[in-house]
Each structure stands twice: as structure tokens, then as C-alpha cells.
């Protein structure tokens, strides 16, 4: 269950509700979703919950973080709704509100962007190390070890310590934060 009130969640998702206002509940999005078997509620159901202001129920499900941005729903929606973008906006809200059940995805993307802010480009080893540290789970790195070792052996990733100093894109990131409030 989420730790934030329904009202607060509604505030954060108002823009998504507006986007999907003309949803006719046909379920084409659900029928097109490749990740449907890993969702506890369907995309169509998610839009219904949003339209009827049941944000708390929506965020007690992890369905939207299963979206892998394949854009089939966006392509096929008979109302022309940008449903993949709507999924992203829900991910943003979950991350902004620091909802516990989305911690893993939020930290993963957060670590990725920190690496980009500092270096301008992604340094995989640095960002994965940062991700593992922020998850505070000593066992988790082993799940990634087999692929990591293969990539190291091929010279595709390089061990790198997080670099300090002024970041390459810090000015841009700060300005974005200022404008988004």
C-alpha cells in the first residue's frame, strides 16, 4: 500500500488523467502489452482507476513500472492517446514521491542519471556500483555478476571509481530542477 494520501497522489497524477481523458476503455492497450502477464492490474484498468480518482489503488499496483516502452499501445490506441508517455509520467510521480514499492527502479534510474550528470556519458561500472550501494543489499550484485564478468572480459566495461569535482552536465540538471520546482 502506498504511504501517501489519495489526494496527494491525485495532485501528482492530474496531468496523466488529463492526457487519458478520452479513453473509451476498449482494452486495446491491454491486448497489445507484452508485459501483461507480469501485471496485477491491466493497463485499461489503470486508466479507469485514474479517471475515477482511485490513485491510491493505482499506486498499490506495480503494473506501470513493468512498461518496457515498446509503444504498441500508443501505436494502436484508437483515441490516439500517448499511453507510453502516460506510463512514464506515473513512473516519474512514483519516483518523486519516493514510494517504497518502486524503490528499486527509482534508484536504478537515479544512479544512471547521476552518472550522466557527472560524466556526460554513461559509465556502466560506476553507475551499477552506485546502484548497488544505494540499494544497501549486499547480495544483489551477485545477480548481475555473471553478465558483468563477461563484459569485463571483453573490455566492454571498465572498472572506474566514481569521479568527483564539478559534473559535466550539472548546470543543465540544476536548471531543469529549478524550472520543474
Amino acid at each position: 500500500m502506498s504511504q501517501v494520501s489519495n489526494e496527494h497522489l491525485l495532485e501528482q497524477t492530474g496531468i496523466v488523467k488529463e492526457m487519458i481523458q478520452t479513453c473509451i476503455q476498449c482494452g486495446t492497450c491491454t491486448a497489445s502489452c507484452p508485459n501483461i502477464e507480469f501485471m496485477d492490474i491491466t493497463p485499461r484498468h489503470m486508466w479507469r482507476l485514474l479517471l475515477t480518482d482511485h490513485a491510491e489503488a493505482l499506486f498499490s499496483s506495480k503494473s506501470f513500472i513493468m512498461c518496457s516502452s515498446c509503444y504498441y499501445c500508443t501505436l494502436r490506441c484508437p483515441r490516439g492517446l500517448e499511453l507510453t508517455s502516460a506510463m512514464s509520467l506515473l513512473k516519474q510521480a512514483a519516483s518523486k514521491l519516493k514510494l517504497k514499492q518502486f524503490r528499486r527502479s527509482s534508484l536504478f534510474y537515479g544512479a544512471f542519471l547521476d552518472s550522466v550528470k557527472k560524466n556526460g556519458r554513461v559509465k556502466e561500472m560506476e553507475f551499477m556500483t552506485h546502484f548497488f550501494i544505494s540499494m544497501k543489499n549486499p547480495v544483489m550484485p551477485f545477480a548481475y555478476a555473471s553478465l558483468g564478468l563477461k563484459l569485463l572480459a571483453k573490455g566492454k566495461i571498465r572498472p572506474e571509481l566514481p569521479s568527483g569535482g564539478k559534473g559535466k552536465l550539472t548546470a543543465l540538471f540544476n536548471k531543469v530542477a529549478e524550472l520543474e520546482g
Binding site: F108, L151, K156, K175
Partner: protein
């Protein structure tokens, strides 16, 4: 033919062979690339999960740098995720001038301005529409004959922007595969999702999608990809998925320009076949 070139982060690291083989192939086809100076990350799928504005600013920075170079007007992008992010900005600023203003007020921090006069092109778009396929035919002399090759397109070079192929039933790679002398594998998984970053954050869900694709590819000699994320997902867990599904699902997976490079007489080293994670030996043995 000349293009500006945006390699993107993966092509500097986990998909180095995509960068190298793209350059080798395009040089052989008389295409000149000029890398965008000081390019940075496009934001991948991370930016749009965290901040709306940032997901436009990060790709926009690269478009602004491309405009500043004041040379070619077209940017060639091999990575489908980078392609989509850059394309998204190219498209939205034509309509949303408010957003363009916001983007520019952020880019002003680096004294950059985005006007919107560059066009973003995917490598596959350029190969199937700009390049002379006859030239590939001529040089390859049916070198890949006898091989059946599964073209895998993934999502983001096809959708949501339907620029150069059918977004549900793509076929642009068929002509290129035939030009190399091989036969395109008939399947309906070419435009299905590989799980993208779910393989990192929700591995079971990611492997389920990859498993479906690998199963459907049975009967083909290799799968071709045009995206670093697809390539990594299709290659990296073949043993594990084979074990989970109780059947041998191992198959060589190559980037499209690696395959075309080989067809055009480049060596395995030229296109860095040693960097692929799947076992490509099963394919190279069959090439005469």
C-alpha cells in the same frame, strides 16, 4: 553521402562492435560520418522515468550541438533508444513552442540554442533508403547464400514514429539480407519487445520476452539486430533461458552492419565478432 554521427553511450562500451562495424560498413559504401563534437547521453529510458523536462533537454543538447557544427543537416544514429529520444525532440518542437522555449532556457546554461533544423535518421533507414543496395550485391557476390537470417527490429526504431517501415510488420531488412545472398527468416517476432531495461530491473519479466523471441527464431542461422539494448538482451542470457525452458535456444546474434560487413568481405576482426556475447561460431562455420 555525408551525415553527422551520434554514436551514443552504448556504442562506446557494451556495443563497441556496433560502432566499429557501422563505420567499416558505411566506409565501404562511400558514406562519410562526422561525429557530433562533445555529444552527451540522450537520457535513455532513465530520464523520462525521472523528469519530463530533462527527458527533452538531454537529447536537445545533442541536436543543438549538431546545428552548431553547421555542416550536414542529417544525423545518423545506430542505437534505437538514442534515435527515438533525439527524434522525439525533433518532432515535438515543431508543434510545442512553449516546450522549445523551456528547453532553450536550460540550454542557455551552456550557451547553446536549439532551432530545429536537423533531421534524425536511424542507421536502418539510411541503409534501406539512401544507400545503393546494388553495391552490396555486387561486392558480396552471394557470399551468404544458403543462410537463413532472422531480422529483429525491436520497438523504438519503428514506434511511435513510423518513419521508414511498417511498425507492426517491418520488412526493411529483407532487401539487405537478400543483397548479401541470404534468405530472410519468416517470423512474426521481428517487431516484438525484448524487454528493454526490464532485464536489469525485473529480470524474470525480461527473460520471458527474450525466451519467446529465441524460441521463435529456431530454424534460423542467426538473428540480426539494430539496437544495443536488443542485442544485449538477446545475447546475454541464452544459456540461462535455455536451461529454464529445457531446450537449446542458443543462436548467433549479430548487429546488422556486422553481418553486411562480413558479406562484403570484411574479416571477423574488422567487424569485431570477438566482442559478441553469443556463440557466433555456428554461423561463421557456414560462411564459405
Amino acid at each position: 553521402m555525408k551525415y553527422l554521427y551520434y554514436p551514443g553511450c552504448s556504442l562506446e562500451g557494451t556495443s563497441l562492435e556496433y560502432d566499429i562495424s557501422t563505420k567499416v560498413l558505411l566506409e565501404a559504401l562511400d558514406v562519410q560520418l562526422t561525429e557530433i563534437e562533445d555529444w552527451t547521453c540522450c537520457g535513455a529510458t532513465a530520464a523520462e522515468s525521472q523528469s519530463h523536462l530533462l527527458s527533452y533537454v538531454l537529447p536537445a543538447r545533442n541536436l543543438a550541438l549538431a546545428e552548431k557544427m553547421n555542416s550536414e543537416r542529417q544525423i545518423l544514429v545506430p542505437c534505437s533508444a538514442c534515435y527515438l529520444n533525439l527524434k522525439k525532440v525533433e518532432e515535438i518542437i515543431k508543434k510545442d513552442k512553449d516546450l522549445l522555449g523551456k528547453i532553450n532556457s536550460v540550454l542557455a546554461e551552456e550557451d547553446l540554442v536549439l532551432k530545429g533544423d536537423v533531421i534524425v535518421r536511424h542507421l536502418l533507414d539510411v541503409l534501406s533508403n539512401d544507400v545503393d543496395i546494388e553495391k552490396i550485391k555486387e561486392i558480396s557476390q552471394n557470399k551468404m547464400s544458403g543462410l537463413v537470417i532472422a531480422p529483429y527490429y525491436g520497438c523504438q526504431c519503428l514506434r511511435p514514429f513510423t518513419v521508414f517501415d511498417d511498425p507492426e510488420d517491418p520488412h526493411s531488412m529483407d532487401a539487405l539480407i537478400k543483397a548479401a545472398g541470404a534468405q530472410p527468416f519468416e517470423w512474426d517476432m521481428g517487431a516484438q519487445c525484448c524487454g528493454a531495461s526490464n532485464t536489469s530491473t525485473k529480470p524474470e519479466a525480461g527473460r520471458a520476452l527474450v525466451g519467446r523471441i529465441l524460441k521463435a527464431a529456431k530454424g534460423a542461422d542467426a538473428i540480426l539486430t539494430v539496437c544495443p539494448m536488443c542485442q544485449m538482451n538477446l545475447e546475454s542470457s541464452q544459456k540461462k533461458i535455455s536451461h529454464e525452458q529445457g531446450m537449446d535456444l542458443e543462436i548467433p546474434v549479430l548487429f546488422l552492419p556486422q553481418f553486411l560487413g562480413l558479406a562484403m568481405g570484411k574479416t571477423q576482426n574488422d567487424i569485431r565478432l570477438d566482442l559478441n556475447l553469443s556463440n557466433t561460431g555456428a554461423l561463421t562455420q557456414k560462411i564459405v
